[in-house]
Amino acid sequence: MNSPLLVRTHAFGPHLSIERYRFDNGLTLLFCPDHTAPVFSFQTWFSVGSRHEYEGKTGLAHLLEHLMFNETKNVPHGEFDRRVEGAGAESNAATFLDWTFYMINAPADALELVVGLESDRMQHLVLRDELVASEREVVKNERLQCVDDDVDGAVGERLFREAFSTHGYGRPTIGWMADIEGLTAADCREFYSTYYAPNNATIAVVGDVQREVLLSLIERCYGAIAASELPIEDVHPEPLQVTERHASMEQPTPTLKLAIGYKSPAMGDVDHPALVLLCDVVFSGRSSRGYRRLVHELEFASEFGGQAGHFRDPSIVDISITAHEGIAAERILAELDELFAELRREPPTQEELERVKARVELSTIQGMQSSSGKAEQIGFCELVLGDPAALWTRLDAFARVTRSDLLRVARRYFVPEGRTVLIVEPGGDPPDSSPDGASGVEA
C-alpha cells in the first residue's frame, strides 16, 4: 500500500483543523489533533443505514451493529469488550436511517489496541448462528424497551411510517418485530460483506494522537483490506405529498398526544439552514412562539417540541405535543394552524431571527467540548453532507439567513397538504408492531 494521500485540510472552529487522508483501498481518514486532554475518540462511520434495507429484512443494519461486538477470527467471543474495558476505554455504536457508526473513546496510550480491534472487526467478523440468535433476543428486548413499551418511541415509529409511503425512511431502524425474529446469520453475513468495506467507511479520529503514529497504524492494520464493489442503492424518492394525512392510535398513556410531520428538505438543501432557524423560532426554548402560546399562555400542552430532520434525503419536521388533561386535539391543531398561518403571512421579527442565530452559535460551540463530541460531528457531517467541518461552515449559512428566507420556507414547508397528523388517544392496547398495523388514510 502506498502512503496515504493528504487530500486537504479543513478549518474546524477557532483553533482546530481536520486533515483528510485518502488510502488506496478507498478508506477515508479524518484526523483532528487535539491535545487538550490525554484521551482520543476513534470512530468508524459506514455509509449504510436502515435506508439500505428492504421490507421483510428491516432491522438488519442494527442487528449487525450489535454483532460487531461479538467475535472475529482473531478475537474470541466476549474478548472485544474485555480488551476495551481493560484499557479503560468505552465503546458504543449507533445505527440510523443514513449511517452506522462505531466509537471507542480511550486513554491516549491505547491507540494501537483500538486501531487493531477496529480494523480486525472490519474484515474478520464471525457470524455464527447461535451468536446471531442470542443477539436477536437482545435486540427484541431493546425494541420492547424503546418502542413497544415506550409511548414516545411507538408514536415516533408510527409517524414516520405514515409520513413516508415509498422512501426507506418509513421503515424503523430497529426493525419490525416479525422481521427481527426472522433475521438469519446468512442475512448478516451478506450485509456485512457488502457494506463493511474500506471504500464505504470514514474513520474520524480526534484527540491526543501523534499524526505519524496514527498514519502508520492505519496503513499497517487497514492496508490489506480490499475495497468492495458497492451496490447501487435501490432508492425510491418519496413522491410529493399533496394531501394532508391523518392517522390515530391508542396508547396506554394518561394524556392525549399529537405527533405531526411536515415534509422538509434534505440537510444539504439550500432551504435547510433557514428551516432550522424557523423551527427554532417556533419550537426551541421557552422564548419560542410555540412554547409561549401553547405551553405558557393557553396551557394546552405540558410538553412541546419540534425539529427539522437532519438527513441525507428529504424528511420531516418532527413535532411532538403532550396535551394537558381535558384539552382536545382539535384545539391544539387550530392554534398550531394559526401560528403557522401567521408565519406564512409575515416572517418572524429581526429580533427573533438574531435570537435563534445566537442559539445556533451556542449549540455549535457546546458540541465541541469533548473529543467524542467533535468526532461525532465530523463523522456525521462527512456522511450526510460530505463536509466534515460543516458544524462550523454551516454557521456561515445560518448567518446569511434573512427574514425573507424565513418567509419563503414557511410558505414552502409549513402547509397543511404537506403534513401528517397522528393523534394518540389514551387507553387501548400496545402498538401493533408490524407494518400492517397502519391505519392512516389520505384525508
Binding site: G88, D149, I365
Partner: protein
Amino acid sequence: MKLLFEASRELPLVQLVATFRAGGVSDPVGLEGLSRITARMLRRGSRTMTGEQLEGRVDSLGADLAASVGLGSTTVGVEVVSRSLEKAVALAAEVIAEPAFDEDELEKLKRQVEAEIVASRDEDEGLAARALRRRLFAGHPHGRRVQGTIASVRAITREDVIAHHRRAFSQENAIVAIGGDVSGEQATDFAVQLTERLPKGERLPYAVGAPVPPVGRRLVIVDKPERSQCQLGIGTLGADLADEDYVALLLANAVFGGMFTSRLNQEVRVKRGWSYGASSGLATGPVREAFTVWSAPSVDDAVACFELELGLLEAFCAHGIDEAELGFAREFMRRSYAFEIDTGKKRLQQKLDCLLLGLPDDFHAQIIERMGAVTAVDASRSVARRLDPKGMWVSAVLDAEDVGSDLREAIAWDEVVVEPFNCD
C-alpha cells in the same frame, strides 16, 4: 460565599454556576416540591423583566439558563458564549436575587408541574425507580420525590416560595463555580456580582440522619396494564462516602454490575439475551445511600431473570470477588478516570460536588489511589458487611394480575405491595 474556578480557554464559552445548599430533603412535609418550584419560578420574571423578556434575553445573549434541584442543593447555571459574558452575569445576578414571584405565574407553573407529573407516568423506568426509592427510604427524606406530588405542589403558596427563597438563596449558603474562557480575576469579580444582592444569611445544614436498612424481602408491584416488558429493580442500602468500605465497594460493584463485562451483564444480556442491559450501581451521598440492580426483561422472562439476579446477588454477598476480577476492575477504573476530567466543565462539576459533600478537592483522585491498596479479601468483606441480600426491596412495573402473580410466587416474600402506576 465560596468560589470555585476552572479555566479552560480552548473554546469561547463560559460556565457560571450558583449553587445553594438546599434541596428536596429540606422541603417541609406536605410541601414536597417547594425547592423545585422556587427554582423554576426564578425563570418566570424578575424585578425588571417578565418571564418572556427574560427568556428572550437569555437566547439573545447566546446563553443557556438552567435551574435544577437535587436532594441537597439547588443550582442555577448559565453557559454563555464569551462575548456576552458580562451581560449574562448581570442577568443571572438579577434572576437569582430579585425574582418577581408573580402570583399568576406561580399558579400557572403549579398547573404545569401537575401536568408533567401526570405525563411522567408514561416512563416505566422512572416508575420503577420512584417506587423502589419510596419503599427503600420509607419515612426518610431520601425517599421523597424532589418534584413533589400533585397534592403537595397544589399546597405550595407564594408565601412559601418567598420564605424558601429568603432562607436558601443567601451569600453564606452559596457556592459559585465559574469555568471556561475566563481569568481568575474576572471570576472573582463575577462571583461577587452574582451574590452581592443576596442577603448574608447562613449556611444551611444537610440535616438528614442515616436511613434504616430494610428487613426481609419485600416486593412492590407497580401495576400497569398491557406491559410487554418489565422494568425490574432490586435495592438495598450501600454505603456513605465516609464509610471505610466505600472504596472497596466501588471496586466490587464494578465487578458485579458496573461494567459491560460485569457478571450481571454477562449472565443476563450476553449469555441469555434477556435484557438490553443489566447493571448495578452504588449511589453516593453524605448518608448511606442505595445499592441497586436494574434490568428490563420481557414479561415472559421476568420471573426467571429476577431469580437469576437474586442468585447472583446472593453469591456476590456470600463469596465476594477474586483477585483477577479485582485487578481488572481496578485497572478499568484507574485508566477510565481520564474521562472524568477530560473537559473543563467536568473538572468544575467535580470540584463543586466535592465541596457540596464536604470532601477535599482531590477526593476522586484519592479514591483512585486508595483502590491500589484494596485486596479481593478486603472487597469481599466489605460486600458482606454492607450489602444484605436478605434485606431488600424489589420493584417491578407490570400487569399485577398477569406476570405480577408469577413474581409473587417466585420466592417467599415478607411483604408484597401493589400500587397503581398513576399514584404519586
